[in-house]
Amino acid sequence: MVRQQREERRKAFERQQRQWLITRIAFGILGLLVVAGVAYGLFRWNEDQQNNVRPEGVRDFAYAGSDHTASLAETVAYEESPPVGGRHAAAPYWQNCGYYDAPIQNESAVHSLEHGAVWLTYRPDLPQDQIDVLREKAEQTYVLVSPYGDQEAPVVASSWNHQLELDGSDDERLDQFIRTFRQGPDTPEPGAACQNGVGTPV
């Protein structure tokens, strides 16, 4: 009789111990998940902070906006190649953002710069895997990508009044440039559209 009771008490005790163990394991896993979530959040925030810095080597210019040509037929002799600002095509002839595999009209691209886009141009002989990197960047909003024959650097990043020459699309300064200058403080018309203009990205 006593042995039976002792037996039952022992089993009840073991059951309780097991339940406590399960509970402790569950809380442990929850805790790990919270820590993992916080760590991931911090990692992504830090990544953004790393990009939110003016990259080295950017050249600055001082063009004013709103200087429009009379028609698309009028071309502008820009001093920079590719251009970073100045006279450009009137509304609605800004170049729709996205990726292009053929050259686009400078005067339209400059209007997109006025609207806060970052224009990434690549020399046509850039290796395909690097072109693919740029093409993926073009899926972001306010990013314009096109080939440009008359540039020295393999990749050039331009925004209104800022330009950076890069050796390739794997340069970490590329993301820094986009983060700093897309819809940046020198955008003459912040919030203006990079859609509903001209051109069909591929």
Binding site: H115, A192, N196
Partner: protein, 145 residues
């Protein structure tokens, strides 16, 4: 106003201008709504409309077209529509500049100041462009009203 011009004008330059103005202003409105939201502020203040600008404005933003003027715009067509649109939009832009300058005098926030500064610069330039377009549409055959 821009929507009326966009739908009814025969001039592609006017249509392009109207589209640009509409898209940009809607986006900028969105930006400002977003800031109010993040700051935990209501979209409409408790003081009288336009009280922030200091002097009495009877609650009306400077340069706003009246309902009668808008109704008139929808009844016009051709060069008359274009001229009236330009006239109203020039006045509307000229109203925006004192508002932006007023906030520049009052705000320390760098992002508010950046937007206000950009608005002053771009709207002044658009006024100049619109005045040129207006002059081009005003000939001896259709003199200034």
């Amino acid at each position: 106003m821009a929507l009326v011009a966009l739908e009814r004008t025969a001039d592609p330059a006017i249509a392009g201008l109207a589209k640009d103005i509409m898209l940009t202003q809607q986006n900028q409105i969105g930006q400002m709504f977003g800031w109010l939201d993040v700051w935990g502020l209501p979209l409409t203040g408790s003081a009288r409309q336009m009280a922030w600008m200091g002097h009495s404005r009877n609650g009306r933003m400077p340069g706003m077209a009246s309902p009668e003027e808008l109704a008139k715009l929808t009844r016009l067509s051709g060069p008359d529509l274009d001229r009236e649109f330009l006239r109203l939009m020039i006045r509307h832009h000229e109203g925006g500049v004192p508002m932006a300058e007023a906030i520049l005098q009052r705000s320390d926030s760098s992002m508010v100041r950046e937007l206000a500064g950009a608005i002053v610069a771009s709207q002044q330039a658009e006024v100049a462009a619109m005045q040129q377009m207006f002059a081009a549409k005003t000939t001896a055959a259709a003199p200034l009203p």
